[in-house]
């Protein structure tokens, strides 16, 4: 398994992925990178230099908020939590991705529903 995802696609998917992860539970940068790597079977390898600025931008847009928290074991970490506006944005993202996905299924399905005119 040696393929990777193009930079553009990675870029475009960062936002919905981040929102989706945070919609499940509050999390912090290092854990998010670990999660993404696991969920994508190692296909997506997010760079810290990219992740944090994006988190900060989402924060500026008031989709998520951050807070410092010290878990029972371990050092204090900066956690991110999704805000109502973030859930709305995630819903919109979902719609877009679903429609793109639906189109590919139709295109690549056994019975192509598209008649190509020559």
């Amino acid at each position: 398994m040696n393929h990777s995802i193009s930079k553009e696609l990675a870029g475009a998917s960062t936002r919905p992925i981040l929102l989706s992860i945070l919609a499940r539970s509050d999390s912090y940068g290092y854990a998010i990178i670990q999660n993404v790597a696991e969920l994508s079977d190692g296909v997506m390898d997010w760079k810290e230099g990219m992740l944090y600025p994006v988190l900060h931008r989402l924060e500026d847009e008031k989709l998520i908020e951050s807070f410092w928290k010290t878990p029972e074991s371990g050092r204090k970490r900066k956690y991110y939590r999704i805000l109502p506006a973030g859930l709305q944005a995630l819903e919109a993202e979902k719609q877009s991705w679903f429609s793109v996905n639906a189109m590919f299924i139709r295109l690549w399905g056994p019975e192509a529903q598209l008649t190509l005119s020559v």
Binding site: Y30, K47, G49, Y52, W68
Partner: protein, 890 residues
């Protein structure tokens, strides 16, 4: 040398390398560091060494060259971290140094302008400081001295006898305590070889219950309980006994009376009750038990020498209580009062109001004057206003000449805020200089001020915390107001426009500045008018004929000679004085013109209805009073020692008394009898009528007067033939030593003593004139500064006008006319206000000068002349300047 990897050091150095780049906030760094640590831990868990795990994690995370652009993408232009050099204190410090350097340079370049500016404000502030000191001290009287002071009242609309106090204490539940005081003429106090004349009062033992005094020694409980006990003020105690404890010692009063000192108290300077010592009231009983007991009964009701202080219980409705006691005199002794034909009401005066507001005065020390407090307060306020206006005017005018500097500063990158700070800094520096200077001036002027207002303030009084607070507040206000105009307006100039120089910029604020100068001159004008009127009034009072001859009369004060001795020897004493050929007449007198006789004595002329009121001023005099004072008789004759019955039955009255009695002429009055139903004094048959003369200053109108013989009085008036005065005075001194050795010899001249009545007015005039001069001075400083500024702005114009053929005179008129117009307007306003104020003031005098138009014109001429001189000094210089140089200016 072996190399050991230390994780914390590595992380710290990595963090530092990121920190040096300003794209990361501390919060970001924390987050990244935590991330790095997580990654290192994971690496170690996976079996890597610490160093290897770190290297891996760190390379994954990237150094700042990789991180920064990503962060910047998000951050740039979003204003999240605006790390500005200006938040650094070092920046602030550097700028402060730069600002003050610029300000100092400017001051050095324009020394005259700057010293006018700072000096004017300093003088104004200093004057204001002194005024505030006076007002504060006067208002502080009787505040915060005694625990019960809010509930202490003085009884009476004039002094009243103590039966009132007794009744109030016994029958009125509102009254908690009463203390009685009685004033007494000065007693000589002897201790060892010292003799002192001190103010002493009688007070009963309740005194220290009502008033809280700080006892240096002795105790308040029984200090005034027994006869012949005395409580000394700490000041008197120190003069008598030095640093030794006075309590328990003996002193001798009035030559032979042994008193024991039962306590020493501090007498606060700001208390209206000022004494050297308090004698127990029991002493008074011991002196004269008959009179003391009589004081408790019918006679006591009219005893004017008692002073009663009440303490009301807490929560008493004072207004209702006042109403309740108002009618007490008529209820108690209505019959007696009606006999005298008077209605008498009892009043209450709040303790704290006695010093400044009492109609009847203090009675136990000096009185203040609320009018003076207001007056000096107002003068101080106006002085401050004028000085501030001046400062603001000059500072703003000066600032507008700095347009070019502003343009340059803007061109090289100063923003509006920086410039505003610069201007504020400028005015703050000047205002601060003025504030410091004013403190020095106030300190130096304190002795002069003390003599003007007749107080003895010390440096400590001047430097109280409140005074500093006030100065700081004024400093802040002046800085803000004078800095605000240039800070807000000038900093908004477009740099290019500003660089072209001041002549092209709008001279904004010109009308405002003219208005402010107008205000200054209006204030000075008012002061000039009022001062001139006050001077004129005093001159008028001093020059008006008094109706007697006050010149060439020496008065010997023998009141310290014990009465018995005086009675025995006065005739021989008078005779010895007359031995000097230059002495034409001698007469003993209870009082002399300019000092009060027994005013308000009720004595009814024959045929006068008893239910009407008739009060006159009675003078107890010696035989030769008429020639000694140079009084003119209009009917009948003067006293004659050859006619024996004159001594007991004869009286002289003045024309006013004739008129008040309703007699048609002075001749008709001769032979008429006066009776005094209550006290039997003064009574007698009129043997002569003398011409009205001013026994009191011209503040008062002439009242009905009566003179009766009482040969041995405390004062001896001696008329001296002119040009012999010095010889006579030493002759009298010799006679005195012969008759009354060991008793202080005191004399005064009648005319000087009479003039003392105008002292208050003269002092007021002196204060007014000093402040009139100060205000006009400051106003002129301001005017001269503004003219200089205006002429400088018009330098080029003047040059062109002169080249085109204008004469210097025309240029002077042009420049001066501009500045003089607002001053003329302010003079018109000032004369109206000044006229109104002086009219109100002069109204208080029974004999007053007219405030004529010529007085106002004079004030106007003075003011315009001073202003014109100030203005022309500047404009003449500008007009005389070489036009070629003027045109090349700028």
């Amino acid at each position: 040398m072996s190399y050991t990897f230390k994780l914390d050091v590595a992380i710290a150095s990595w963090r530092q390398s990121l920190k040096l780049n300003r794209s990361f906030s501390d919060d970001d760094l924390d987050e990244l560091e935590n991330h790095l640590r997580d990654a290192v831990e994971t690496g170690i868990e996976e079996g890597l060494g610490e160093e290897e795990a770190y290297r891996k994690a760190q390379s994954r995370l990237g150094d700042f060259t990789e991180l920064e652009p990503e962060y910047k993408k998000v951050r740039f232009g979003m204003g999240r971290i605006k790390t500005s050099v200006k938040t650094d204190w070092r920046w602030f410090w550097a700028m402060a140094k730069n600002y003050s350097l610029t300000s100092f340079r400017y001051m050095r370049k324009h020394p005259v302008f700057s010293s006018i500016n700072i000096g004017g404000l300093a003088v104004g502030l200093a004057g204001c400081l002194l005024m505030v000191l006076f007002v504060r001290q006067e208002l502080s009287f009787d505040k915060g001295l005694h625990e019960k002071e809010d509930r202490i009242y003085r009884l009476g609309s004039s002094t009243v006898g103590w039966p009132y106090g007794k009744i109030l204490e016994a029958e009125y539940p509102e009254v908690e305590r009463v203390t009685y005081m009685r004033s007494y003429p000065t007693f000589p106090i002897k201790h060892q070889d010292q003799t002192l004349y001190e103010t002493l009062f009688y007070a009963d033992n309740a005194f220290f219950d009502v008033f809280d005094y700080d006892f240096v020694s002795g105790s308040p409980q029984s200090a005034l309980e027994t006869a012949y006990s005395i409580v000394l003020s700490s000041e008197l105690s120190e003069r008598l006994f030095g640093t030794q404890d006075a309590a328990g010692r003996q002193i001798v009063l009035r030559d032979s009376l042994q008193f024991s000192v039962t306590g020493v108290v501090n007498v606060p300077r700001n208390s209206h009750i000022q004494f050297g010592g308090l004698m127990s009231l029991e002493t008074f009983r011991a002196f004269d038990s008959e009179r003391f007991d009589a004081g408790m009964t019918s006679q006591g009701w009219l005893d004017v020498n008692m002073i009663n202080y009440l303490v009301l219980n807490e929560g008493v409705d004072v207004a209702a209580f006042k109403e309740k006691v108002r009618t007490l005199p008529m209820e108690q002794v209505g019959e007696l009062m009606k006999q005298y034909g008077i209605e008498y009401e009892l009043g209450l005066e709040k303790y704290g109001d006695i010093y400044l507001k009492s109609d009847q005065g203090n009675l136990l020390g000096p009185s203040g004057s609320l009018g003076n407090v207001y007056l000096l307060g107002a003068v101080g306020l106006f002085l401050l206003l004028i000085a501030c206006v001046n400062f603001i005017n000059l500072t703003t005018a000066r600032a507008s000449t700095r347009a070019r500097e502003i343009g340059l500063r803007k061109a090289i990158g100063a923003d509006r805020k920086t410039l505003a700070v610069q201007f504020l800094f400028d005015s703050a520096l000047a205002a601060f200089g003025a504030t410091v200077l004013s403190m020095g001036i106030a300190r130096l002027a304190l002795p002069l001020f003390n003599s003007l207002v007749q107080r003895s303030y010390t440096t400590q009084d001047l430097w109280s915390l409140e005074m500093f607070g006030m100065l700081m507040a004024i400093f802040a206000c002046v800085t803000l107001v004078s800095g605000a105009y240039p800070a807000l307006l000038l900093s908004g100039y477009h740099p290019v426009e500003a660089m072209k120089g001041p002549s092209t910029t709008k001279s904004g604020g010109g009308w405002l500045r003219k208005g402010l100068v107008g205000f200054q001159f209006t204030t000075s004008g008012v002061l000039i008018v009022v001062t001139l009127v006050a001077y004129t009034q005093i001159r008028y009072m001093q020059s008006r004929p008094l109706g007697f001859d006050a010149e060439q009369v020496v008065v010997v004060d023998a009141r310290k000679v014990p009465g018995a001795e005086r009675n025995a020897r006065y005739e021989a004493f008078e005779q010895s004085i007359k031995e000097n050929a230059a002495v034409s007449n001698v007469s003993s007198m209870w009082t002399v013109p300019g000092r009060s006789g027994w005013r308000g004595q009720l004595s009814f002329p024959e045929g006068y209805p008893n239910d009407g009121s008739y009060g006159l001023e009675f003078l107890a005099v010696g035989w030769d009073v008429v020639p000694t004072l140079g009084i003119n008789m209009v009917a009948g004759r003067a006293f004659d020692r050859q006619i024996g019955q004159d001594a007991s039955t004869a009286v002289l009255i003045n024309e006013e008394a004739v008129k008040a009695a309703g007699w048609a002429s002075s001749e008709e009055a001769i032979g008429k009898r006066f009776t005094s139903p209550g006290s039997g004094k003064p009574e007698g048959v009129v043997i002569g009528v003398f011409e009205n003369y001013h026994h009191h200053g011209l503040q008062e109108s002439i009242e009905p007067m009566m003179m009766g013989i009482s040969p041995s009085n405390g004062l001896f008036a001696i008329r001296v033939e002119s040009a012999q005065m010095a010889g006579v005075v030493s002759h009298i001194a010799g006679v005195w030593d012969q008759f009354f050795p060991g008793i202080t010899y005191e004399t005064f001249f009648l005319d000087d003593d009479f003039a003392l009545q105008y002292e208050e007015e003269q002092r007021l005039t002196r204060v007014l004139s000093i402040f009139a001069i100060l205000t006009i001075l400051i106003a002129c400083l301001g005017l001269s500064g503004l003219t200089a500024f205006a002429t400088a702005q018009r330098t080029k114009e003047i040059g062109i006008r002169k080249t085109m053929g204008a004469s210097s005179r025309q240029v002077v008129m042009l420049l001066s006319g501009d500045s003089m117009r607002p001053i003329f307007v302010s003079f018109i306003i000032a004369s109206a206000i000044g006229y109104f104020i002086s009219y109100k003031w002069v109204e208080r005098f029974a004999y007053r000068t007219d405030i004529g138009i010529e007085l106002l014109v004079m004030a106007g001429v003075i003011m315009m002349l001073i202003a014109f001189l100030t203005v022309s000094f500047q404009s003449v210089r500008a007009a005389m300047a070489d036009p070629v140089k003027s045109i090349r200016y700028q």
